[in-house]
Amino acid sequence: MSFFAASRAVNLVEARRAFLGKSGLVLSGTAIALLAGRDVLAAKAGSPVESDVRILNTALAAEQEAVAAYQVGAESGLLQKPVLDLAVSFQGHHKEHADVLARTVQKLGGTPVAARAKYVFPVEKLKTQADVLRFAASLEKGAVSAYLGAVPVFDNRDLAKAAASILGDEAMHWAILRNAVGEIPVPGAFVS
């Protein structure tokens, strides 16, 4: 990663920290959108609520895996300090996503999927900081696509809106990670 890219990454982290007070409000708003509106609704077999719960649980499983993946990256010893801060910041977002998804599943009468005891990542291929960042970028890209698929499928439009909000956050992760390894941060006008 170039110094320029690293410096930009640090500046982005600092800017994000400075913005935390406001963004905390935004995230809380998303959480409220997810959690409000419907008290416990029985996720009856074949019901739209059951379908929403199933998709939320798929997203939750992916978020839990992302948290674990960033942990592997953080503990790899390959990430230099400014980039490590960025990775930990992104991991924190995934934790927030997982937390609100789990609580929403419960709110809708479902059972949140549990995190796996063990995840298998291609650690043998992660030999440099850039390898770790590219791996993280690949997960973020996949997550963006997964949420893109989920948005139109949710029966509850509040859930679709919240999924779009998470999609936006993870697309930003993807772009910053691409930029950090010297790739065009936003490769196109649309994501798919």
Partner: protein
């Protein structure tokens, strides 16, 4: 006509596989990387061995009930239909992501078929 039906199905599957470009499919497959990989079960099941496998058949993977019950064996034709609209083909599946473009579906399917013969899947 009846005796020819299975043979025609096989031909149409082979044609669909032949039409796809596995290299383009490899790039498109990155979209699946939020939930799937070739050799590991993740939020979705592993894809090694997918072609020819019955739906819901990866041991110990927590499939939805709908996928466990789906009377599907995965080949080019069934994958093409499923990827086009998973929620319609298997109502109750946990998979929401769809691939609208038929050519992209063919490319992804060609990649999956090729990947199944790769060292990662051996």
């Amino acid at each position: 006509m009846q005796p020819w039906f299975p043979a025609l199905l096989l031909l149409s599957s082979a044609a669909a596989l032949a039409a796809g470009d596995p290299q383009r499919g490899a790039a498109l497959y990155e979209r699946c990387g939020g939930c799937h990989s070739l050799a590991q079960d993740r939020a979705g099941p592993r894809h090694c061995g997918l072609i020819g496998r019955r739906a819901g058949a990866v041991k110990d993977f927590p499939y939805s009930d709908a996928m466990k019950r789906a009377p599907i064996s995965w080949d080019a034709a069934t994958l093409d239909r499923f990827l086009a609209d998973p929620q319609r083909v298997v109502p109750g599946t946990a998979m929401a992501y769809s691939v609208d473009d038929p050519r992209e579906r063919a490319d992804v399917i060609a990649y999956l078929a090729q990947a199944n013969r790769s060292p990662e899947c051996k």
